[in-house]
């Protein structure tokens, strides 16, 4: 019983449990949601893209920053992917993927440089680049769009192919998650990201390379948004200038629901990715069970607010428990 309690207290497990309940409940009402040929595939495939974005976002949010430009970066990199294939259909897929990821990294670098060196709040900087990068795609693409016919079959195949019943894009997302989780948990630099988010002033006093770490976080986030752009092109086959519009808010919501503190310092990429899967799946499940559009959005809003209130309540409760433990350990201080 205590073990169950402990597991439930972990945010990742709690979010995963809600996810299971949502899937189970929807399947009971509409068995096709999970138990059809496409149902299983969509369950894994649709959230993959948002999950990759959420992993990148979590790396930035942990440092007490935020990247609102990810939707625009995704659009730009998706369009770049399509254009490269349209211009040179014989390019190796690996090369195009690398180019899109690199482009995303450069866009992330721009964000990082302004945030880390000009000391402008990330919220403002990335709100600016959200529009600037989108403007870039609009200028570049105009009213043109990349269609499936412009891209090689081998590439589009990645968007639908499955290995042992698991879509390739879902495998990509899981790999990204595993690498990021491992890095954040076991590398010195990864732990320093948490330290910086926990107390930026103390991090400077401690002598941590604060600017370099923040820069790295934004570059990683940009690169992952670039990768998500490639996934978008492969999955949907068409890319217009509006690709990924508004996605940044879903991603930030997913990160918060997944238990990454919006003021930095705590949370995991696993939680963020699970949160992404939950949000996307709820968005798919509600229309299936016949919930009207207004309530679909309201449910997501309630979920985000619940997550934040829950964080607050749990943090307060933990602080009180720690204070009590202290008084028990140092009775003479209480007596004094």
């Amino acid at each position: 019983m205590r073990a169950v309690g402990a597991a439930l207290r972990s945010r990742e497990a709690a979010v995963a449990l809600v996810l299971v309940l949502v899937v189970a409940g929807t399947t009971v009402l509409q068995p096709g949601f999970l138990l059809s040929a496409g149902g299983w595939r969509d369950l894994l495939l649709t959230p993959s893209l948002v999950a990759v974005l959420a992993v990148g976002q979590a790396i930035v949010v942990v440092t007490r920053n935020v990247d609102l430009s990810v939707g625009s970066v995704l659009g730009l990199c998706a369009y770049l992917t399509g254009t490269l294939f349209a211009a040179a259909p014989d390019l190796p897929v690996v090369l195009v993927v690398a180019a899109a990821v690199a482009a995303g990294a450069v866009l992330g670098l721009v964000n990082g440089v302004v945030v880390a060196f000009a000391r402008v709040p990330a919220l403002v900087v990335t709100l600016g680049t959200l529009y600037a990068y989108r403007g870039l795609v609009l200028t570049w693409a105009g009213s043109d769009r990349i269609d499936a016919s412009d891209m090689p079959h081998a590439f589009l195949d990645l968007g639908v192919r499955q290995v042992l019943g698991v879509p390739v894009l879902a495998i990509v997302a899981v790999l990204v998650l595993a690498v990021a989780a491992h890095y954040l948990h076991t590398s010195r630099a990864g732990r320093q990201l948490y330290a910086i988010g926990s107390d930026p002033d103390a991090a400077v006093l401690y002598g941590l390379p604060v600017r370099r770490r923040i820069l790295t976080a934004f570059v990683a986030c940009g690169a992952l948004a670039g990768l998500a752009g490639v996934m978008f092109a492969a999955r949907y086959g068409t890319v217009s200038s509006g690709a990924g519009t508004g996605l940044e808010l879903t991603v930030v919501g997913a990160v918060v629901v997944g238990g990454v503190a919006i003021f930095g310092g705590s949370g995991t990429v696993l939680g963020a990715a699970t949160g992404a899967v939950l949000l996307v799946t709820i968005n798919r499940a509600l229309p299936v069970v016949g919930v009207p559009d207004f309530w679909q959005r309201a449910v997501v809003g309630v979920l985000i607010i619940t997550a934040i209130v829950l964080d607050r309540v749990l943090a307060d409760r933990r602080a009180r428990a720690l204070a009590r433990a202290r008084d028990v350990r140092n009775p003479q201080e209480v007596a004094r």
Binding site: H185, T186, S187, R188, R191, Q192, Y194, A195, G197, S198, D199, D201, A202, A203, V204, L205, Y206, G207, L208, P209, A261, G264, G265, S266, R318, A319, L322, A323, R326, R329, N330, Q332, E333, V334, R336
Partner: protein, 498 residues
């Protein structure tokens, strides 16, 4: 003679017009525990921060182990073997205690991954050495101040530094913990390292250290072997200056009791605090930084709550924890940090001055700039605030003028009791005298003033009566005639009033 671990000579550091360190000199020999003492504001912390790489010196010699040093970052100082325990712990609350200990130098396994098991073992080992029992896996948030301090000490020891600087490490520790810390310090000394120990507790200084350096007003005063000096001698050197008539105190006859505080108590902060302030009287609240003076003032004003005791204003009990009630009862509080708590820097001078009386000067809930300006003009005249225009932003003014604006803001409420916390911190000498003249004049007009100040000359020059606070208790109450620098400093450090 061996090479000193640390040698500073004539080190200077200024922040804008304020010179924090005029001539910092200290030579720490290997295998020695060196005490650094001085009043608040004597420049000790600035000196430490130069050595730690937080501040860069403006001039003077700085050598570490005989090699010239010039640190631009704390990381450089750390790499050169300087470990510092600051007054305020700087831990990362979200991270586990053990990660706080080893951040940036965590033990790695063969795959260069952080080895948490080894880290935990190291943490246990360090805490064992200090004789404390802190769970390495718990988050640092929620640790008591004493435990945070112990984590800081463990952190410093783990660096294996050649020079360990402790800036008032014992303020929050209990007797047993202090003894253990001293045992560790002696161990480091016997290994041939240098230890610098900053403390206001002379019993500790004389029990632990072998050499003592006294600083005053940002400069070196003396360095002696501890055996060759005495507490009285050191106290005299710390104050060692004549109280000049820089502060034109106008004599006044105290009237009725305005503020009556009885048995005020808050666990862990202050205990059994009782005092009166009369109309026309300036009462100085002296003591060291962290003694609990500001906390007492905040509790009296109702910003913070208290566990027991009563506060009466003009004989009527004041509701605890209600600053609005305090203002209605005729109290005003000019806080310590005017930038943070007293002033809205992005508002104009006029808006700042009229902030508290907004409701009185508004009509039908609307404010008029003309009425704001009229009010403000009256006060800029009375307080001689030097400002080009009333619509200037408060942020662009000098510290002294900012302080006057904050004063004007509260005086506009027509208070009977004014509490000022460090009224002249960071203000140049000329403006300082003006603020003093102002306070003195207000008292002469019948205002009751409670003044918190860490500057001894200010307290002695201004106050009709001095209350000395040490570790949350009032340890002495001295009349103007009896308040000598030595007596106040003694009550603030040793405790028992002589």
């Amino acid at each position: 003679m061996s090479t000193p671990v640390l040698r500073l000579e004539g080190v200077r550091k200024a922040f804008g017009p304020v010179v924090a360190l005029r001539s910092g000199t200290i030579v720490v020999e290997p295998g020695s525990i060196h005490a650094l003492v001085g009043e608040n504001g004597a420049g000790k912390s600035t000196l430490v921060k130069v050595v730690a790489g937080v501040h860069r010196r403006d001039g003077g010699t700085f050598e570490l182990g005989g090699v010239p040093a010039d640190f631009r970052t704390t990381a450089e100082a750390k790499a050169a073997g300087v470990a510092v325990i600051y007054q305020e712990p700087t831990l990362f609350g979200d991270l586990p205690v053990m990660e706080n200990l080893f951040l940036g130098s965590e033990p790695l396994d063969r795959l260069r991954r952080i080895d948490r098991r080894a880290m935990r073992a190291h943490a246990h080992e360090l805490f064992g050495r200090l004789g404390v029992d802190i769970d390495p896996d718990r988050p640092a948030a929620g640790l008591s101040i004493a435990d945070q301090q112990l984590v800081e000490i463990a952190k410093a020891i783990s660096l294996d530094a050649g020079l360990l600087i402790m800036d008032e490490p014992t303020a929050a520790l209990s007797g047993v913990e202090v003894e253990r810390l001293f045992a560790v310090a002696r161990g480091l000394r016997d290994e041939g390292r240098g230890v610098v120990f900053i403390s206001h507790r002379f019993d500790e200084v004389f029990g632990l250290c072998d050499t003592i350096t006294v600083m005053r007003d940002g400069a070196h005063v003396s360095t002696d072997p501890v055996a060759a000096t005495s507490v009285d001698e050191v106290v005299t050197r710390m104050v060692g200056r004549e109280v000049t008539d820089l502060f034109p105190k106008v004599p006044s006859t105290p009237g009725d009791v305005v503020l009556e505080v009885r048995g005020l108590e808050r666990a862990g902060t202050f205990h059994g605090v009782s005092f009166d302030v009369r109309a026309g009287e300036i009462v100085g609240l002296a003591g060291l930084v962290g003694a609990g003076r500001s906390e007492i003032a905040r509790a009296v004003f109702g910003v913070d709550r208290y566990d027991a005791g009563t506060v009466r204003v003009l004989g009527r009990p004041l509701r605890p924890g209600d600053p609005a009630a305090a203002v209605d009862a005729g109290m005003a509080l000019v806080p310590e940090d005017r930038r943070l708590q007293g002033l809205v820097p992005q508002s104009t001078v006029a808006q700042n001055m009229t902030a508290v009386v907004r409701r009185r000067i508004s009509r039908l809930g609307l404010l008029s700039t003309a009425r704001e300006n009229a009010r403000a003009a009256e006060w800029t005249g009375r307080l001689e605030v030097r400002t080009a225009a009333l619509d200037m932003l408060a942020a662009t003014m000098s510290g002294g003028n900012q302080q006057k604006v904050v004063l004007a803001k509260w005086l506009a409420t027509g208070p009977r009791l004014l509490i000022v916390d460090e009224p002249t911190r960071g203000i140049d000498v000329a403006t300082k005298a003006e603020v003093h003249r102002l306070l003195s004049g207000l008292a002469a007009e019948g205002l009751a003033v409670l003044m918190i100040s860490s500057e001894l000359p200010e307290v002695l020059g201004m106050a009709d009566r001095v209350l000395v606070v040490r570790e949350g208790r009032i340890t002495a109450e001295l009349d103007r005639a009896d308040a000598t620098p030595e007596r106040v400093m003694r009550a603030a450090t040793v405790g028992a009033a002589s």
